[in-house]
């Protein structure tokens, strides 16, 4: 039994802590373009100080946070009603509806993002439809703008929002809502005081599952975005591939992780601490 419990820790150690230690070691080294691999190991903070002398990195980070936050919000607003509807559907239809949510994963992520390029292009299907239907003769193009990036992220990560929400909403005891109705609560009041608070763990899980990968997203902004959309994933790519500066690229990655992990860890602790006093009071 003890070994079974050790398994996740082993997993975490091999696939998270070890790679993280490697990246940290590279970040503390110095760039050595003429050796293989191009790093001189050592303890130096040069790469980290460089990050703070140029506002490029901060700007890219803030843009990434902003885009990830709005995409997460939109995904939540779209995903919550979807999850709710699936959870309230007849039990025999739920597997089919869930299947439909997961179905896009059967196609490669890259191909799905490419498909959006075909839809949103100047001569893409969307504009062809707008011109054909006479809605707009000169519709312009959203491919290559931040809008396209947001759209792409919401599309790609929506299932990650829907699934945890569904898991929580499905378990929700409907008799609670009936009791609320009996006591005179309107559906909206019942939703706000019962369903929403009880589904909060699903909301948090879904938001984290969308927000975290969206911040570091590279493929979607590269393919759907324009040149001026400066996200941290692109900055990291430039440092690693164009400049071949592994220490600086690693420093960017570490800062990204720390800046993301710190608020999340804090939030988790708040969540864990929250219910305890209530339990004591009950006693």
């Amino acid at each position: 039994m003890r070994y079974v419990i050790a398994l996740p820790f082993l997993w975490l150690g091999i696939f998270f802590l070890l790679p993280f230690a490697l990246v940290l070691a590279i970040a503390l080294g110095t760039n050595a373009p003429d050796s293989v691999p191009p790093v001189d190991l050592g303890i130096g903070l040069k790469s980290f100080t460089l990050l703070f002398t140029d506002d490029l990195y901060l700007a890219a980070w803030l843009t990434s946070l902003r885009i990830a936050a709005t995409s997460t919000l939109v995904a939540l607003l779209l995903g919550y009603p979807m999850a709710y509807a699936i959870a309230r559907a007849a039990p025999r239809r739920r597997p089919l509806l869930l299947m439909l949510v997961v179905l896009p994963f059967w196609t490669s992520f890259l191909i799905r993002v490419y498909a959006w390029m075909g839809l949103l292009d100047e001569n893409g299907l969307l504009n062809q439809f707008l011109r054909w239907s006479g809605i707009a003769a000169n519709p312009g193009t959203i491919l290559g703008t931040e809008w396209a990036v947001q759209l792409g992220i919401v599309y790609a990560y929506l299932p990650f929002m829907v699934l945890p929400l569904y898991a929580v909403l499905e378990k929700l005891d409907v008799s609670l809502l009936e009791a609320a109705a009996d006591l005179g609560a309107r559906p909206i009041a019942a939703f706000l005081t019962i369903t929403l608070p009880l589904s909060l763990p699903g909301v948090v899980a879904g938001c984290l599952l969308v927000f975290i990968p969206a911040v570091g997203e590279f493929v979607i902004p590269d393919l759907l975005g324009g040149t001026e959309t400066l996200m941290i994933g692109k900055v990291l790519w430039d440092e690693f591939f164009t400049n071949a500066d592994w220490p600086l690229a690693s420093a960017v990655a570490i800062c990204l992780l720390v800046l993301l992990a710190a608020p999340i860890a804090l939030f988790q602790r708040q969540q864990a601490r929250g219910p305890e006093p209530a339990r004591e009071r009950r006693r």
């Binding site: 003429d34 050796s35 292009d121 324009g226 040149t227 001026e228 400066l230 591939f241 164009t242 400049n243």
Partner: protein, 361 residues
């Protein structure tokens, strides 16, 4: 049951054995060799070719820098990639005594390549081409009938580029291709590493920035072919690809390519042997095979690029060897320029300037 497991284990191990002994691992650009020729090599030498492809110099660069890539032959672009990999001693010197077809190579291309690799000690030129202007003939002439299509003004003069904003302009997302062209446009040394020169070049690109839909190093192929843009600054071979695709499309579009009269950046893709190649002897044999005129000619026929093999020229069909955009005449070739890699600090400065151009930061 155990016997079956043993048998399947053996089946797994056996090909690995063969792979380790008589094989050569080639890592090449996609669509970059006539693949029936690989079978000829396998038949002639009994050496198995493990052929894999990539579509980005950066990916190859990162693999080589990580070490133990396992490749015997790779084909990086001369500048800035092959040069900076040479500086990191990532390649084996060629044993030219074993390359009996060495003299087939084109001395002019060899001389250009020798600027990066003195004495051509580490690599042979495979394919080469130019950097220039790809455009949609109908859309351009509709907006500016006397457009200077064969001049850098086409992409750097705001008065010209602004005319094409509505039909779409794309530019390579590459500081090492666009900034030298901007320097050339200003009449400065395209290889200049001086901060004040680079600042002037940056200003040139910034002035046309509002009219450019996107900086990207490969998207313009599909965008030109599909009619989503009408003007691109890109690589010759990519524009030829766009032209061929557009010609095959339902609503035939006429895509053309022009070499800037001010001069064009000559790119050369170099076949070389990584230092830690597992089969260096087979790699040399494969290089010698690439130097055979019929192999280079068959590959040029497939790709539509010029090759670095002079003996192959006579074997090429007329529509390739006689095409001045693929094999330009001497006066155009004389205006080709090449650039050197520069120090890591200079690379960083250039990349940073380029980010400023693209994002305004």
């Amino acid at each position: 049951m155990r016997l079956l497991a043993l048998a399947s284990l053996l089946a797994l191990v056996a090909p690995v054995q063969a792979w380790a002994q008589g094989s050569v691992n080639v890592y090449n650009w996609s669509d970059y060799i006539a693949e029936d020729q690989l079978k000829v090599f396998e038949k002639d030498t009994g050496t198995k070719v493990n052929y894999t492809t990539y579509d980005s110099n950066e990916i190859l660069d990162a693999k080589l820098r990580t070490g133990k890539s396992g490749y015997d032959i790779v084909v990086p672009t001369a500048s800035p990639f092959f040069v900076r990999q040479l500086a990191a001693s990532l390649y084996l010197p060629l044993d030219k005594a074993k390359l009996k077809n060495w003299n087939n190579l084109d001395p002019e291309i060899m001389a250009a390549l020798a600027k990066y690799d003195p004495g051509n000690a580490h690599g042979i030129p495979w394919m080469w081409g130019t950097t220039g202007i790809g455009y949609n003939v109908a859309e351009i002439s509709k907006r500016l009938p006397d457009a200077p299509v064969d001049s850098l003004r086409m992409i750097f003069d705001p008065a010209v580029v602004s005319k094409f904003k509505d039909c779409g302009v794309m530019m390579l997302d590459s500081a090492t291709d666009v900034l030298p062209a901007a320097l050339k446009y200003l009449g400065l040394d395209p290889d200049s590493k001086k901060t004040e020169d680079l600042a002037k070049a940056t200003d040139v690109v910034k002035a046309v920035r509002p009219f450019i839909r996107k900086f990207h190093s490969s998207e313009y192929i599909n965008a030109l072919a599909g009619g989503n843009i009408c003007l691109a600054f890109g690589f010759s071979g990519d524009v030829f690809q766009a032209r061929d695709r557009a010609a095959k499309a339902k609503d035939k579009r006429d895509i053309a390519y022009a070499i800037p009269k001010e001069g064009s950046l000559l790119w050369i893709d170099v076949a070389a042997i990584p230092k830690d190649a597992p089969n260096p002897a087979n790699a040399l044999r494969f290089l010698d095979f690439l130097l055979e005129p019929k192999v280079a000619a068959a590959s040029s026929e497939l790709t539509g690029y010029a090759n670095g093999n002079r003996a192959a020229f006579a074997l090429l069909p007329k529509d390739i060897s006689g095409n001045p955009l693929i094999y330009p005449p001497a006066d155009v070739r004389n205006r080709f320029y090449t650039i050197t890699a520069g120090t890591p600090e200079q690379t960083r400065e250039r990349t940073r300037l380029w980010t400023t151009v693209k994002t305004g930061r």
